[in-house]
């Protein structure tokens, strides 16, 4: 298991190699990539997103989510990286990789992981567009 909150995400291919190395029983790796959309909530053109985190608590939250998914679905391992700081349109902001024996538990886990990340993990983002700026609350 690896979780990282950082201004710079690691190389995705390296993360894929890393998680595949966790066990020879891995038969599927499901990957989620979050990226900055060009249109904001206010309909304006996004200039940048500004992320910040309560880092210690965010790491604890992500580790707890992964532990829960291991217990619930029997996944083998997971890696989550989340960006903090400024991110421009098209830039990757989240990498989540779930390794499992079979695809089914991987698909279920990745959905649950991202949903919980968005609602539980103490990370905040401010959207800055050509119309103004606002702190975004996940619905």
């Amino acid at each position: 298991m690896k979780v990282k909150i950082s201004e710079k995400l690691d190389d995705l291919n390296s993360l894929l190699s890393e998680i595949k190395g966790a066990s020879s029983e891995i038969g599927a790796v499901v990957i989620f990539v979050g990226a900055v959309r060009g249109t904001g909530r206010d309909g304006g053109r996004v200039l940048r997103l500004e992320y910040e985190a309560y880092e210690e608590a965010a790491k604890d939250s992500l580790e707890k989510i992964i532990e829960d998914l291991k217990a619930k679905y029997g996944i083998i391992d997971a890696i989550v990286e989340h960006k903090v700081g400024s991110a421009s349109v098209g830039e990757d902001t989240v990498y989540a990789l779930v390794a499992s024996k079979h695809r089914e538990e991987g698909f279920k886990s990745i959905v649950e992981l991202i949903e919980r990340l968005k609602h539980e993990t103490p990370i905040w983002k401010k959207e800055v567009t050509d119309k103004g700026s606002q702190w975004i609350e996940n619905p």
Binding site: G34, Y51, E52, A53, Y54, E56, A57, A58, D60, H82, T93, V94, I114, L117, K118, H119, E120, T121, P122, I123, W124, K125, K126, W135, I136, E137, N138
Partner: protein, 104 residues
């Protein structure tokens, strides 16, 4: 006296213009810290602070039957755990006030 560290994030950090600060308080609950000490120090944004952090009715902080204030959708952690609003602050406590999250 108890010395406590308070951390702010997102819109609250922006509102108060500070990431973290220390308070020296006597016999003080978490509710006292949020309702009295913090807005006193940040008088220029005290009203906005109150409206952001607490449920309000006609501008006044809404309270439960036991008189404790009702937080809006904010979480307050002390040492990483979520205590009652009546929790009595101890020397060395780290309080984190978390607005609704927006990661991903």
């Amino acid at each position: 006296m108890a010395k406590v560290k308070v951390k702010y994030f997102g819109r609250l950090r922006e509102l108060l213009g500070v990431k973290e600060e220390e308070y020296e308080v006597g016999e003080t609950t978490l509710a006292d810290l949020l309702l009295k000490h913090i807005p006193e120090r940040h008088g220029e944004v005290a009203e906005e602070w109150k409206q952001s952090v607490f449920m309000t009715i006609r501008g006044e902080v809404a309270v439960n039957r036991d008189g404790t204030p009702i937080l809006r959708n904010y979480y307050v952690l002390v040492g990483g755990k979520s205590p009652e609003i009546t929790y009595r602050l101890k020397d060395g406590d780290e309080v984190a006030i978390l607005p609704p999250v927006g990661g991903g």
